[in-house]
């Protein structure tokens, strides 16, 4: 017996490509711009969102029949805020330097449109297991883009990956730098993330024209 039914599996695979939260639904762009200058921060952000979204989806799904619809946004906020504070405290305790790099953006997961979007659109109307899968899928779709953007921005902007110099040392002029290569300062600043995300969207839609919106 397969681990997941086909319908359940599509909950995870769809957001990875054809229903990606960032490139198709255009949600969660702000954090994709802000923290992707380093690959490490991108990965930690992706894991944090994975935790918050999957657990939050399950919690909301379990409570979906007892939440009065008039105050559901507040309830959702409380759930996501609780989870974000857990993530924040864990980071501060075990990865202090990194939590300083991510600074306010961990707290801002609360306002990440993907999370509230999935609570509203999916967890309020589906059971806990499917909501859990949906949370995993969307967080992975978000994380994939974050990691791709972080990869290019750190590689081209700083010449490193996860902080390790992969292109040589820019000060001692070793590796690629010995032939005149220089780091691209433009990739460090947030507008570069907008352009990298734009290029991903461009590539994705020209490979699959069905995704192009009608005007």
């Amino acid at each position: 017996m397969a681990l997941l039914t086909k319908k359940d599996a599509s909950l995870i695979t769809d957001p990875l490509a054809d229903n990606n939260p960032i490139t198709i639904q255009v949600l969660g762009i702000c954090s994709a711009l802000a923290i992707t200058a380093e690959l490490k921060a991108s990965v930690v952000m992706a894991i944090s969102v994975l935790f918050v979204l999957s657990v939050g989806n399950v919690v909301i799904s379990l409570m979906r029949n007892i939440i009065p619809s008039k105050i559901r946004i507040i309830v959702q906020l409380i759930v996501v805020a609780t989870l974000v504070i857990i993530v924040d405290q864990v980071l501060k305790a075990f990865a202090y330097e990194l939590s300083k790099t991510l600074s306010v953006f961990v707290g801002l997961i609360i306002t990440n449109c993907i999370i509230m979007g999935r609570f509203e659109a999916f967890a309020l109307g589906n059971g806990p297991w499917r909501s859990f899968l949906d949370g995993i899928g969307n967080a992975l779709g978000y994380g994939v883009i974050l990691v791709i953007v972080g990869f290019f921005r750190e590689l081209l902007g700083s010449g490193t990956l996860f902080g390790y110099p992969v292109l040589g040392n820019p000060i001692e002029k070793t590796g690629l730098y010995s032939i005149g290569y220089e780091n691209n300062g433009f990739m460090i600043i947030p507008p570069a993330a907008l352009i990298v995300v734009g290029i991903i969207i461009w590539v994705q839609r020209s490979r699959n024209p069905a995704l192009v919106e009608d005007h």
Binding site: G180, Y181, E182, N184, G185, F186, M187, I189, I195, G198, W202
Partner: protein
């Protein structure tokens, strides 16, 4: 007729038929139409014959740029040797400036910039034309000429190539190619270079050939620009006269210095009706107004000599036009018909703010010793908004006139409102 007696023109027409419908057809057609007018005409409907098609327009701008390019090649050598040997005491145009030694530096430094700019830019255009299956657009002809003129002389060629790819793809092709772009592609390329490789785009070394290589050594030479001196309150150390600034015997980006030749180019563009005199004039007015405000602030004694802004603020207001890239930007960049304002009234606003903001950025932001490219890019973004309000204002005025007219039938007001809803 035997094959040998065919003219080049006819042969190309024949080859063209072999290419028809093939993938490389756009690439061939681009070369073909660059040399000759196509042999095709529209088959029905009305014909409008006009000599000034897009290619002619582009070529006119290039003609206006050629004197600047030639001057910049001589100036490259002149600045290099003057930085080493000191500026000549009794300057003579023929003996000190128009020499083979000077021109040779231009050939080995400026020409490669030009070749890389055109080579990479046109390659990108060709690739996009072949992929999309449309004709190659002429837009890059001018951009390719502008790019080498607005970068420092020692810009590494690979950086220029990367920037050109970025500028053409992100600045132009993603919006749909020539005529659809929001930002001036040449300035997009410069902005990319500036933010990506700031050490190669600013400072006191990059403006003179070899100043970077010699830095720190015993034969180090300086390449500080006039704006650079002023930004450091070192205006007194400069040895440049006003005529040096006007005729362009000063360090700076490759082609931005010869204000005199730029002025001639600008007049040429105005009389050939290629560029808008409204934009040029209003930009000059804008920069003079901002310069006058700064001069006034200094005269009132609100800014002391110790202030870091003193050097640039006390700079005579009209001299802002003859140093840095302001004149070049106003004549060749701000007047880009695609990215500029389209309405006549809008052009006045658009130009005015380009001049106004250029001088403001120049004075107030020490990180950007030159603000022209930022000001023009900013106004490029605002140009459609300016046009929108100009058009709306025009509609409103006409509506008022319509309502005030007495001879209209009863329901004209309703119709007028309908019309307004449609047009807005």
């Amino acid at each position: 007729m035997s094959d040998k007696r065919l003219t080049l023109k006819k042969r190309l027409h024949i080859i063209k038929h072999h290419f028809r419908g093939k993938k490389m057809a756009p690439a061939f057609n681009a070369f073909h139409t660059f040399l000759f007018t196509p042999d095709e005409t529209t088959h029905n409907g009305s014909h409008v014959r006009a000599a000034d098609d897009l290619k002619r327009t582009m070529n006119t701008v290039i003609m206006a740029l050629v004197p600047v390019l030639v001057f910049s090649m001589f100036n490259a050598g002149y600045q290099h040797y003057s930085a080493i040997n000191g500026f000549p005491q009794n300057f003579s145009l023929m003996d000190d400036f128009l020499t083979w030694d000077n021109f040779w530096i231009g050939i080995i430094k400026v020409l490669p910039l030009l070749v890389v700019s055109y080579g990479v830019g046109l390659l990108v255009e060709f690739i996009f034309a072949v992929i999309k299956g449309h004709e190659v657009e002429e837009g890059y002809l001018v951009t390719g000429m502008l790019v080498p003129l607005i970068v420092p002389i020692d810009t590494p060629l690979w950086m220029l190539a990367v920037a050109v790819v970025f500028g053409v793809v992100i600045g132009k092709e993603v919006f749909g190619g020539t005529g659809m772009n929001i930002l001036n592609p040449a300035l997009t390329i410069r902005a990319f270079l500036f933010f990506a490789y700031p050490t190669w785009m600013s400072g006191d070394k990059v403006w003179v050939y070899q100043a970077v290589e010699r830095a720190g050594g015993p034969d180090a030479i300086s390449g500080e620009t006039i704006l650079g001196y002023l930004a450091q309150n070192k205006g007194a150390e400069m040895s440049y006269s006003v005529s040096d600034m006007f005729f362009g015997f000063i360090p700076g980006s490759v082609g931005e210095t010869p204000t005199f030749l730029i002025l001639l180019g600008g007049l040429f563009l105005i009389f050939s009706k290629i560029a808008s005199w409204r934009i040029m004039l209003s930009a000059v007015i804008g920069s003079l107004v901002m310069g006058l405000i700064f001069n006034g602030v200094v005269d009132q004694g609100w800014i002391g000599e110790t202030s870091k802004f003193y050097g640039l603020m006390s700079f005579p207001f009209w001299q802002h036009l003859i140093v840095g890239g302001l004149a070049f930007g106003i004549v060749y960049m701000a007047t880009d018909p695609v990215t500029g304002a389209q309405t006549n009234r809008g052009k006045w606003f658009y130009g005015f703010f380009i001049g106004f903001l250029s001088v403001m950025i120049r004075v107030f932001n020490p990180a950007y010793p030159e603000g022209v490219f930022l000001a023009i890019l900013l106004m490029n973004v605002f140009a459609p908004t300016i046009d929108h309000y100009v058009v709306r204002g025009n509609i409103k005025r006409r509506m008022k006139r319509l309502k005030n007219a007495t001879i209209l039938p009863k329901d004209s007001e309703g119709k007028a409102n309908e019309l307004q809803a449609e047009t807005v």
